[in-house]
Chain length 203, copies 4
DNA sequence: ACCTAAGCGAGACGGTACGTCTCGTCTTGCG
DNA sequence: CGCAAGACGAGACGTACCGTCTCGCTTAGGT
């Protein structure tokens, strides 16, 4: 895919400091290996082979597989849409739809799945994932706060919890290969979240 | 030469058919290994050692690590509360609270995390997980249908989607070690789902 | 003494090249295992355990059990007597007697038996054995050539064939545990070979 | 009707005594497996599979691989020529030539190689081989005794030793894949043995 | 005509060894 | 000192056989 090694000319040390070419080659190789052979094929050895790098070079800069995985993840662009249509329901729907598409159509989905997997055993990945989750909820929460500011949402609503519910829905669909579903279900989910599922008269 | 008598009362073949004692010993050993050494320590070799079983005996009956994992999971009792308090909000809250507690206090949490992890690379585990998810949503959806029957929930609400939202919330908290949180957040989540997050006058 | 492990200090890699300590430890372990547990106990696993080496380290340098076996064999000293008493009959007798003693009293006998065994199934061992046989016949043939030079042996005699007959006799006695026999039989065999078994007047 | 047989006409027990059909099927399978897959492929499992026999049936009647091997060997016809041409040299040459051909052109060569191999680790095989060797030397020795009777061979010659030398030569050529050599060498070997290798005047 | 006893095919059992893979560490020699 | 290279001890992978065991069935011979 993104193979920069030009045949026989091997990269060498550039002196007593980190060689950015190597770092980049490793990141690229990591991503390529992950996409081509999946998470179980994502081994340090495979990455080193692909990057024409020595294993110690990888271990020197990334203490664990999780670290490399996170690095690859963060290297990806994040052009998820945070549209402002004036309607929270619409905003949330567009956000999730855009996120689903990104996960489907770019390496990010596979990478993120791998990170979640890794986090189940690697505490470092778990920590990183937790932090990234907090950030993400913060971001998504702003959609809700914006809506609250314009009176669309009740004052006592916790934007974090709403963001959590939305993100959870996305995660689960990623992890169970349900990113392909048509919009109806996603729209329903968002509608329930915003309007509730009660009958009009209930409460 | 090859001494097979390892101890005084080793399990033996009971003829040309499966020995249930061995099967059970393996399941027990699998669970114990998983809990003591976590998912990365969950190795066929380790399970075989622990169960005092030969590796081929495991491979004979469980084609993959995933299969064994699922078997161990299904072996667990599922005494999650499906209370019927007359209020869907309350029912859902109690259900999730009970599920959280079970995941926290029994091996099921760790086992289920491992299965989700495994499913990210093993298609068989993925399939089994998908099916189990469908079943679970079916079950949980009955809470919603019950509420709809008594007029608490709008007719056009899809119980599956509601169950999906609730289960997603649970999964994500399991996967990110947030099973310990106090009830407030959980209660909020359920409330938003049932009543919506809009201001009274909105819509 | 075949234990080279110096307590807890494990051998390590010495960089991107073969570690002679490991190689030697493996050779020593191989010999020890072969002598202590015989050919059926001569297992790559057992050698690796004994040498405190990883199996891949063995497979890296010795492609097969046969290769390791041959290496161990060639590592042994070959101080077989090639006396020059002026009498071929005597020379041959002393040579075979010395060879028998070496096979009896040093590991070489057991090792050589194992190699012959291995060569019956492993083509590589068969090739190596064939070559070593040729060399050996060449060597032993020199005894005959020396005798021919001094007129003791007829000109048309093929030293290789004589050496073959002598070596065959030795092999067979090794393979059938008849190294212990008293000298009478051996002396007869050599006498027949040199003088023939005919009556004086025959021909 | 309680026919549980899966095949069309599986062999069954014929009561509380050995079933000769099974025994024969096993012998045949053993020979076939040995010839088709060689000594390393000669496993009890393979023989059982091939013979459509249960492993215990084999172990019941043949305590070891060696026993089965020997049985297969003895099952072969032994039509080695023991010609009586009036010349011992000729008789021995014809005997060895015939033996070489038999080993080359029938399964016996491969089977005998396997037995020698097996005897290097299995004491039972070693014993059987030793005994069979004694018998064989006895037989071959008769050629020499016959010649001695007609005054062709000196009185003090031990026929056993002569037979041993001849058999050793044959064994070694079998074990080192030198059965194909042309007659010249074989003829020389026999000539040296009978006439000696000395110059006419030596002694 | 029943009953016991042993042989039969089948195949599961606890094991060991196979040869390969990856792990994370180590050390070299070049730049 | 960083780098590519790759050897190292360790140990898991999934498979093949080992030799033992039990099953359910078969039949012969003794009762």
């Amino acid at each position: 895919m993104t193979d920069t090694t030009t045949g026989k000319d091997a990269r060498r040390s550039i002196g007593a400091r980190r060689n950015p070419d190597s770092a980049e080659a490793i990141r690229e190789a990591a991503e390529a290996v992950l996409l081509e052979h999946g998470y179980p094929g994502f081994t340090i050895e495979a990455v080193a082979r692909r990057a024409r790098a020595g294993k110690p070079t990888i271990y020197r800069w990334w203490p664990s597989k999780a670290a490399l995985l996170l690095d690859v993840y963060q290297r990806q662009k994040r052009d998820v849409v945070y549209a402002d249509t004036g309607s929270l329901e619409n905003d949330l729907f567009l956000f999730l739809k855009s996120l689903f598409r990104q996960w489907r159509e770019t390496p990010m989905g596979q990478i993120f799945r791998s990170i979640i997997s890794e986090a189940q055993s690697d505490p470092a990945a778990a920590r990183a994932l937790a932090e990234s989750g907090r950030d993400r909820r913060q971001h998504t929460g702003q959609l809700v706060e914006r809506a609250r500011a314009r009176g669309e949402v009740a004052d006592d609503v916790d934007p974090q919890v709403v963001a959590d519910l939305a993100a959870s829905y996305a995660w689960t669909h990623l992890l169970t290969d349900r990113l392909e579903e048509d919009d109806t279900e996603l729209r329903s989910a968002v509608r329930y979240l915003v309007r509730g599922i009660r009958t009009a008269g209930a409460g």
